[in-house]
Every structure is written in structure tokens, then in C-alpha cells.
């Protein structure tokens, strides 16, 4: 009996959380299209999320592309390794690896920062102070972060994909001894628009999710430093899980029809 009750209660609180989050997301989106806007704040977060995440994303995708080329070689050594590996690298990096790894890295970097900053503002009453100064905290805090995240992650993923493919090229040419021109032409042949489009779409959704989860958990944090710490953890974990879930569903949307 107590077991069932525990399950029931967990389920109800899960539903409550989903509803609460959806309401938060809808409110935030509705504020995205209504003035006043804060372009300077959007710029600040664009630089934070886009520019300062470049090294992390670049290194991640570089090594991913490199290791992918190396691993694939052991499987394709016998027949037409050069074309096959170039193809695998470009398809896997643009469709899956760059968006997912960039998403996870940015979730750790930016999702945590957003949750910590907004959460600290909540527990030190800075969010209440915003309201008393006639400023809507959704517009001032949440919208700029969500807009910047949704715009910048696709840019990061495009750059990351190029670096990842380049990583595969480096290993292919300098370690496995492929012909550079052949490798490049195979890469070019393997590049399809739907792969790039799906990667960019994923990135936009992931960027939205990262900023949303960071803002949501920060905005609803309570109870001082410990509460902010918990909000940060929840923001990163929930954003990472959502990224992996949505990755599957967007893939299905693009490729199963």
C-alpha cells in the first residue's frame, strides 16, 4: 500500500513538474514576441554562449572526428577504406555527434551558469527588486538567454561540425595515409543537405532547452546557497537528458519518413 502510494505521489509530482515547466516555457515564449526588448542583453548572452563556448565545442568535436576516423579504420581496412571513412565521419558528425556533444558541453557550461546566476538573483531578492523597478523578470532575465541560446547553438554546431570533419581528415591523411584530395572529394560527396539541416535543427532545439532549463531551475530556486547548488545540478542533468531524448525524436522526424 505504501509502495503504491509512493509511486502515485512520485507520478503526480512528475506531472506537476511537467505542467509547471510547460507553463514557464509558454510564458517565456510569449514574452519573446512582446516589447520591451533588451537587445543589449541578448548581445551579452550571444557573446557568452557563442564566442566563449567555441574552444570547448571545437576541442570536443575535433577529438570526436579524430577518434571516429581511427575506430572506423579497423572495420573498413580491407575495402575502400578511404571513401567509407570520409563518409562515416561527415555523416555522423553533422547529423549526430556535433549537435549532441556540443549540446552536452554547452549544457554543462552555460546551463549551469544560467541556473547559478538566475538562482542567486532569486535567493538574494534581486528578481523581486526587478519587479519593483517596473521590469518584467521574464523579459529581462529569461528571454535574452533563451533567444541567445537558440540562435547561438546552431552557429556553434556548424563551426563544430567543420572542425570535427577536419579532425577526421587529419587522422585520415596524416595517420592512415589517405590521399587528401580523395578524402576531401569523398567528404564532399557524403555531405547531404538533410544531414546538415537536421543537425542545425537539433542545435536550435538543444540551445532552447539548455537556456530554458537553466532559467527555469534558477528562477524557481529557493533556500540560499544550497538551493542554488541544487538548481544548478538539476539544470545540467535535466538539460542533458532532454537533449538525448529530443535528439532521438528529431532524428526520427527527419529520417524515418
Amino acid at each position: 500500500m505504501t509502495f503504491l502510494r509512493t509511486i502515485g505521489r512520485t507520478f503526480l509530482s512528475f506531472l506537476w513538474g511537467v505542467g509547471h515547466l510547460s507553463l514557464f516555457a509558454l510564458t517565456a515564449i510569449s514574452h519573446c514576441v512582446r516589447p520591451p526588448f533588451y537587445p543589449r542583453l541578448v548581445m551579452r548572452h550571444v557573446i557568452d554562449i557563442g564566442y566563449y563556448s567555441l574552444p570547448v565545442v571545437g576541442l570536443t568535436t575535433l577529438f570526436t572526428g579524430m577518434v571516429l576516423a581511427l575506430q572506423s579504420y579497423s572495420g573498413f581496412r580491407e575495402f575502400g577504406a578511404e571513401r567509407a571513412i570520409a563518409l562515416i565521419v561527415v555523416v555522423a558528425v553533422t547529423r549526430e555527434l556535433a549537435p549532441v556533444f556540443a549540446g552536452l558541453m554547452v549544457a554543462g557550461r552555460i546551463g549551469a551558469a544560467i541556473a547559478a546566476e538566475v538562482g542567486t538573483m532569486r535567493v538574494t531578492e534581486q528578481i523581486d527588486a526587478l519587479t519593483t523597478l517596473s521590469t518584467d523578470p521574464y523579459k529581462y532575465l529569461v528571454v535574452p538567454r533563451i533567444v541567445a541560446g537558440t540562435i547561438m547553438l546552431p552557429c556553434l554546431v556548424i563551426v563544430g561540425s567543420i572542425i570535427g570533419v577536419f579532425g577526421g581528415f587529419l587522422v585520415g591523411v596524416y595517420k592512415l595515409g589517405f590521399n587528401p584530395a580523395g578524402y576531401l572529394s569523398a567528404t564532399w560527396d557524403g555531405l547531404e543537405w538533410i544531414g546538415v539541416l537536421s543537425g542545425v535543427t537539433k542545435a536550435a532545439v538543444f540551445g532552447f532547452l539548455i537556456s530554458l532549463m537553466g532559467s527555469y531551475h534558477g528562477y524557481n530556486s529557493r533556500g540560499g546557497a544550497q538551493g542554488v547548488g541544487a538548481a544548478t545540478t538539476h539544470a545540467v542533468v535535466s538539460a542533458s537528458i532532454l537533449i538525448l531524448c529530443f535528439n532521438y525524436f528529431i532524428t526520427e522526424l527527419f529520417f524515418s519518413l
Binding site: 520591451p36 546566476e117 538573483m121 538574494t124 531578492e125 534581486q126 523581486d128 527588486a129 526587478l130 519587479t131 519593483t132 523597478l133 517596473s134 521590469t135 518584467d136 529581462y140
Partner: protein, 259 residues
């Protein structure tokens, strides 16, 4: 007198889960009056202010400003109402991502007033001077200031847009007595200069006597006494007397275990 009170709380209840914090608060503040609410820590003074400000919404009861119920206001109307308020938060609540002068000028740079930057900056410097801070402080970040300076910046921010109604949440708590008195003078001066109505909260009796036209005491979610500062010593209410004299013995019991 039949003037409409500037602020009227009637039957305000507020609970957090099982904790029933406000249990029917009734309080009137007349235009131009400075009312101070005293009461022990954790008796719901800040919660009461937040209900008036609309940061928290009361479970039942109404909060009226100039005779209009504001508890249901949303969106644009609430923002318009907020432009008539100034609030000094208990913990200063300065925006740490902005330099001091932008904190002070914040309300004037946002909202519908929307002053240009140079003008806002000039005004901020002026307001900082009013609370006794030199213009150089304006360039610092709030984290570089001492607690007393933060309170003064927060005070400058609260009065910057010349609000009609100003709320002060424990303006002197945590300050040394001299700085506390400086803040008291600043409050009196800014309220007089602006002709504003003030509702303050404190548990500092010296401050209450100094800034209040009228004192009210909150205990267990009710206003149990209200009267002139000069009457508070011989008022005959055992709760008020215990609080004013700061005695551990009396009708207000602190839940502490004997050693």
C-alpha cells in the same frame, strides 16, 4: 477624517504550506503618513510587505492602494502600479551585474520613463549624493561595497524615481548605531522631500520611534496594537511592552529549550 487611506490591508491571510504566517492583517496608512510595523523575527513582516507590493499574492483578503483593490492586477497594470512604489529590500538586493550608478538609475532607464543614459547617470549621481555617497562610488560594483554602503545605495535606488509610496524592510538592521541613525535621517528626509507615504518594518525600536508617525505591532499574524510613538511606553499592552523593553519574560514565548 474620511480620506481614503493610501494603503489599506484588510483581512490579509497568507500561508506557506501548513505554516499560517499572516492571519488576517488589517492596516491603514494615510497619505503622507509614515507607519512603522514592529514585531519579532519571523512574524511575517516581510511577507506582509511583499503582499502589498504584489510579489506575493494573499490567500484571502484585499490590498487597496488609493481605494482600489490591487490583488488581482496583472501585466501592464501591475507594472504601472509599480512605478508608483519604491522598495528598500532587507538584504539591499542590488543587481551585482551592474555598477552602482546603473543600479540607482535602473528604474529610470527601464520602464516608460526611459531616460537617456547621460541624464540617468547625472540623476544617479545626484541621488547618491543625497545618501552621502561620492560620485566615484557609482563606478564600483555592488560587491565592492560594505553592508552599510549597500543599504545606502539601495535607499538611493528606492527613492530615485520619486515614488509616491516607499517601503522600507529593516532599513537599519545589521548596521552600526551611527550608520543606522544616518539611514533614519535619510529616510525622514527623503520621505519629507518627496512628500511620500512610507510603510516600514523594523525590530529596531530606536529607528521605529524616530521615523514613525504611527507604530503598529504585528504578532502571530495579526496587528495587535497601533498608536503614536509617544504612547508606546505606557500603552498597557503586555506584548508591546515586552517587545519595547526587549525582555525574555512575558507573553511572547520564544520556543527555546532551557539549558
Amino acid at each position: 477624517m474620511t480620506t481614503t487611506p493610501k494603503i489599506r490591508l484588510s483581512g490579509v491571510h497568507k500561508s506557506f504550506g501548513p505554516k499560517h504566517v499572516l492571519r488576517g492583517v488589517d492596516l491603514d496608512v494615510q497619505p503622507g503618513e509614515s507607519v512603522v510595523v514592529i514585531g519579532g523575527s519571523g512574524t511575517g513582516k516581510s511577507v506582509m510587505l511583499k503582499c502589498v507590493l504584489g510579489i506575493l499574492s494573499p490567500d484571502t483578503g484585499t490590498v487597496s492602494i488609493d481605494g482600489t483593490d490591487t490583488t488581482k492586477l496583472k501585466g501592464r497594470d501591475r507594472i504601472d502600479l509599480m512605478e508608483r512604489f519604491g522598495m528598500l529590500f532587507q538584504g539591499a538586493a542590488l543587481f551585482d551585474s551592474l555598477p552602482v550608478w546603473q543600479n540607482v538609475a535602473f528604474g529610470m532607464m527601464q520602464g516608460r520613463r526611459h531616460l537617456p543614459k547621460a541624464q540617468a547617470r547625472e540623476l544617479a549621481t545626484e541621488k547618491l549624493a543625497m545618501v552621502g555617497l561620492p560620485a566615484e562610488v557609482g563606478l564600483l560594483s555592488p560587491a565592492e561595497l560594505s553592508g552599510g554602503m549597500q543599504k545606502r545605495v539601495a535607499l538611493a535606488r528606492a527613492i530615485a524615481s520619486s515614488p509616491e509610496i516607499i517601503f522600507f524592510d529593516e532599513p537599519t538592521t545589521g548596521l552600526d548605531p551611527i550608520m543606522g541613525d544616518v539611514i533614519n535621517d535619510l529616510i525622514i528626509k527623503s520621505v519629507r522631500e518627496l512628500g511620500a507615504t512610507a510603510l516600514s518594518i523594523t525590530h529596531d525600536m530606536a529607528s521605529a520611534r524616530k521615523i514613525a508617525d504611527r507604530i503598529a505591532m504585528i504578532h502571530e499574524g495579526h496587528i495587535i496594537w497601533s498608536g503614536l510613538p509617544s504612547d508606546i511606553d505606557g500603552c498597557g499592552n503586555p506584548y508591546v511592552e515586552q517587545f519595547v523593553h526587549g525582555r525574555a519574560e512575558g507573553p511572547i514565548r520564544m520556543p527555546v529549550r532551557a539549558i
